[in-house]
Amino acid sequence: MSRHIKWAYRLALTAVFVSVGGRVAAQTPEGTVIHNTATATYTDLNSNTYAAVSGSVDVTVGFLPGITVADNTPSPTPASPSTADTLSFGVSNPGNGTDSVTIAENISVAGIMTVTGYRYSGTTFATLTDLNTALSSVAIAEAGSITIQVVYDVATNKGGLNTHYTLTATSRRSLTTTDNKTSSISPAQTFCVGTCGGGGGGGGGTRGVIVDGQQHIQKLPGNGYTAVYNVYNGGNGTDGFDLIARRATTGSAPIAIVSVNGVTGDSARITLAPTSGMQITVVYNVADIVGATDSLFLKARSVGNPTASDQDYYDLVVVKPNLTLAKAAIYDATSLPVSGTVVPGNILRYRITVTNDGTTDAVSVQVTDTLPAQMTYLGLANSADWTITQSGGVVTANYTAASQLLAGQSSTFEVRVSIN
């Protein structure tokens, strides 16, 4: 190979690397006539030369369709709800001739997004039919492209969900030539315990956790009490919530948490649909520590965003009735206290006073008094609040003025007896 030729090859080499890298030569446009002319030279046996002869043939290039769809917004995360969001698709014609397209679409999951229009060249069309009618007269030249914007709204409470929008473009000149691209639409999820921006610590919105009923409660020592809370998911998507119950004090505090929402222990996890609530029951026991106070908290914490939480609590006071009984002997005739001695035949009255000096009412109050053997039961006096029976010298008195003897209240009855 001559030096001249080698230099020519070197000069050509750069172009080779550039143009052959993709192994796709330039597209020959539709309608191109490729004219090929060959020549033949020859001599006769005496080496006389003759004029070259030539022949040629033409090849006309036909239409090679090509449609390519490019997704310019592959993974949008619009708000839920939101309006007038857009997806942008480029439709290009890599074929070798002018073409036009029809557009089709598919939405994988219904109810998340609603297409409201299709925008092309500054005009928004309400329906695909309208768009395709307009596109029927839009010629896309070889290597040309158009942009289609899909305008859509996102429904409420669709945070964290996902749907796929697929746009398909089909050549009008070759119906089998088609391409599509898919955008994955994932509305952004908000995580709120209570109304977003207004719940939690209040602020006018719906609280995320709130006690169901009176916040300040009194309880007798006992087991199996229930405290009910309302837990609310104010986010726009389904979320999990960790429920954590606790008491305010430690050590000998009266409250012992048994279960949360049926789960033994002091925590549980629930799942709530967007803008929905659930009643949560916390079961607890109260120790016999009269007068002790405690609080029973329930905190709800978003699983999706643990920084979002709310809590509420019950104030609890341990209460208990405490009865005292005073018994006095008085003369039946004078109602004065007995002093000194009595003699057989004297008629006395036993005045029995029951007082509830506890912190809560007493129910089923009953007094039993066994009369001394030297006395004979004669009957009752001043005993309207009691139902009294006597048998064999044993007096049984039931407080029947009310269903309970209120805290701080006293009641008295009297039994007439004679000295044997």
């Binding site: 190979m1 001559s2 090859y9 030569a25 003759y50 022949g55 040629s56 043939v57 090679l64």
Partner: protein, 171 residues
């Protein structure tokens, strides 16, 4: 050559060009005839085989017949590959003994195996020229051609725009 039977010389818009010899001769030879055959369209069963799509393989046939009263020698057929066509390496042949050579410099020089220089791992190396660089194909008929005898040369080229296969070799 296996493809020759597929040629249809008269159906493909052949343009004939006559020239007169510059030197004395008793009779002008029959001019060179050319035909084009769309191999891809034929294989695909397309109706319109007269139209080629980008990526289609076209087989060109060149038929030179000695119509003089005497034998001729030094017969050379040269086909400059037209723009829009990419030669399929290895596809050139003939029905008589010929020497096939190629040019990648616009017909200035020919060689049986065009190469280019490249740098690989810091070393200058020669590589086979990519097929897109081929500009001409030349067939040199070995020996003489008796009166009335003909030689048919062929090559295949691909319409630019859709290159099949990774190597670009002829099928």
């Amino acid at each position: 050559m296996k493809h020759l039977r597929l040629l249809s010389l008269g159906m493909l818009g052949i343009a004939l060009v006559w020239t007169r010899p510059v030197a004395a001769q008793a009779r002008s030879p029959k001019p060179l005839l050319m035909a084009a055959h769309n191999v891809t369209a034929e294989a695909a069963g397309r109706d319109n085989k007269a139209v080629a799509n980008p990526g289609d393989v076209i087989r060109y046939a060149l038929v030179f017949k000695n119509t003089t009263a005497g034998a001729v020698k030094n017969v050379e057929l040269v086909d400059p590959l037209p723009k829009g066509m990419v030669y399929l390496v290895g596809s050139a042949g003939a029905d008589r003994p010929v020497r096939v050579e190629y040019s990648i410099d616009g017909g200035k020089s020919y060689t049986a195996r065009p190469v280019v220089q490249a740098v690989a791992d810091g070393q200058k190396v020669e590589q086979a020229a990519p097929r897109e660089m081929y500009t001409h194909v030349r067939w040199t008929v070995l020996g003489s051609l008796a009166p009335g005898a003909q030689v048919t040369a062929e090559l295949e080229a691909q319409v630019s725009g859709q290159v099949n296969g990774a190597s670009g070799e002829a099928k």
